[in-house]
Amino acid sequence: MSQLVPLPIVLPLLGAALSVVFGRWHGFQRLVGVVCLSTSLVISIVLLVAADDTGFVVAQGGGWPAPIGISLVVDRLSAIMLVVSAIMLLAVLVYAIGQGEVERVHAGFHPTYLVLAAGVAASLLTGDLFNLFVSFEMMLAASYVLITMGGRAAQVRSGMTYVVISLVASTFFIIVLALIYSATGTINLADLSERIPELSGEVQLMFAIALLVVFGIKAGLFPLFFWLPDSYPTAPAPVTAIFAGLLTKVGVYAIIRTQTLMFPIDARPATLILVVAALTMTVGVFGAIAQDDVKRILSFHIVSQIGYMIFALGLFTVAGVAAAVFYTFNNIILKTNLLLVAGLVERRGGSSRLSEVGGMVRTAPLLGLLFALPALSLAGLPPFGGFVAKFAVFDAGAWSEQWVLVGVAAFVSLLTMYSMTKIWAGAFWGEREEEPSGRPEPGGRLGGPVLMVGSTAAVVLVGLAVMIWAAPLYAFTERAAVDLLDPSRYVEAVLGERP
């Protein structure tokens, strides 16, 4: 079983290599991309089943034992994230093939996209802080190319912000990494989990906050989110969808992983996390309300939703961490989904500004349905998956008696509902107020090309599957949370039995 662990990283890289070498044959590139990502998906599902069975699947790259070797660890948290991200990567690739714009013009799209997939998988699988840095770099390097692909002036301008911010974050990460290494003499996460408690309390707290800042920039926490709503919407539609769905959540994953595994309970900056969570939720949603562009509204919502995950994590109870995990993977599905629909709306209506589109419920009713289901779920209406996720967060908050935060979260939920209705009223109901700045494409009965609508519908179905299997999934995240809050199991799985 441990032989399979590196494959979700290595296979997309192999695909990227083939895709570069045979770049002239476009059909071959498409085939390689779809085959690689489908195979990774199957392997991820096998790993999920194995991880749920035994708790951990560990592989030591290079054949050296931990903490010297390259530890790759699948636990329940990384397994569920791996499966969900593999589904999203595959769906968005099919969507991009259906759209045929950036994917057709730029021979570099497929290789870069596959490197991104490998980077995401590596970030989720690694059991080593330095390799986490390398995986983030792999993911970011690919994202720099993807975000500016097309080369329009607005894209290059906001892409520059993105590149600079990410480089600053990476530099800070490597500095923190060096400090941690000099203090403990190791960078293996399992080994760190044993050594960090030996440091003095202030040093532990400093490391915990420093790592929170590093991953907070990536995840879009208040006040480090400012780059996000500006840079994501200008990228091509499939790229925006995968960035919005995955990249910030990989940051959240890194926060969950490092805070729970590396630091003992009294060294975690719980109060700080809760305050930041409340501010992230509110500022994000207020930002969204002020916008007039579908993609921008949704980009601000990314920020707001991150607040919920961090809030649940900051409680550091089993219910809280379970809710954070559930919220995170459910949100990946919803966010990808909504931005895929936004791309379809933009294509069909010629613009993503609410004032320039309208009446889509008549011209493209299927798109309306594909938007309504995830939007209601995101707003937290029963019986959708988003309701279960929000209820879990509120429930965990209530058990920990964080009444202020529960109140803030409920208030933000209402505003989320409001901005979703704003998109609905602007794009699907009502009339167009201004001429669209772009050119509307005829969409036919479906509202867009079959592959685009089909892959979006597939993501909607995944979201509905979360609703149907909410109970077993929640039980699964509870098991994940128990493991996360008791790092000794992780340590034992990676380093082996101690005398």
């Binding site: 032989q3 570069v20 790259g61 054949g63 570099g108 607005a154």
Partner: protein
């Protein structure tokens, strides 16, 4: 482009010696400072001399293969080397030793990590060649800012995305539409 005699002659001397040094780094990398990445960068430095002397045409003359073939081939070698141990029942990136008793030279010891390093070397060289393709020729464009800098950045961007000269036959109308400002305005 105007050629300078002094530069041309020095480059002729330096180019090959730096390439040999880069190969030394590549092979020494297993036990000593060096390796595929450092070797590749050194080779890149050699290429940059050719670029300074004669521009992008000179670089193209030095390397017959297209940059993306070199990069892709290198990545392919590296990934396959990483995967072979999995197929043989080991763990990813594991490597084994080989010892050859070569006449005259003596015992030659090498490891299966060498192909991986060669792969990395090729990736780095390919990437640097792509960079020179992207910086490439002088493109004076008037864009909406009316400045050379931003226009150059935009043009370089588009060349880069063609994988260093790998262009695909696309209807020009689609290409212009992608480049038109339409969505995502501030």
């Amino acid at each position: 482009m105007k050629r300078l005699l002094v530069v041309d002659t020095s480059v002729r001397v330096l180019y090959h010696s730096i390439l040999v040094l880069s190969l030394y780094f590549l092979f020494a990398g297993h036990n000593q400072p060096g390796g595929g990445f450092v070797g590749g960068l050194t080779a890149g430095a050699a290429v940059s001399f050719r670029y300074v002397a004669g521009g992008v045409d000179e670089v193209r003359k030095a390397f017959r293969l297209r940059p993306w073939t070199i990069l892709g081939g290198g990545l392919l070698i590296a990934v396959v080397t990483a995967m072979v141990p999995i197929a043989l029942g080991g763990s990813v990136l594991e490597h084994g030793d080989v010892e050859w008793d070569v006449p005259v030279i003596g015992v030659l010891k090498t490891t299966s990590a060498l192909p991986f390093d060669i792969g990395v070397y090729l990736v780095v060289v390919g990437l640097i060649l792509m960079m020179f393709e992207a910086f490439g020729d002088d493109l004076a464009v008037d864009d909406e800012y009316g400045t050379m800098g931003v226009g150059d950045a935009l043009e370089a961007d588009s060349v880069d995305h063609d994988l260093g000269g790998l262009t695909r036959a696309v209807d020009p109308e689609l290409h212009t539409r992608l480049r038109e400002p339409g969505d995502g305005r501030p």
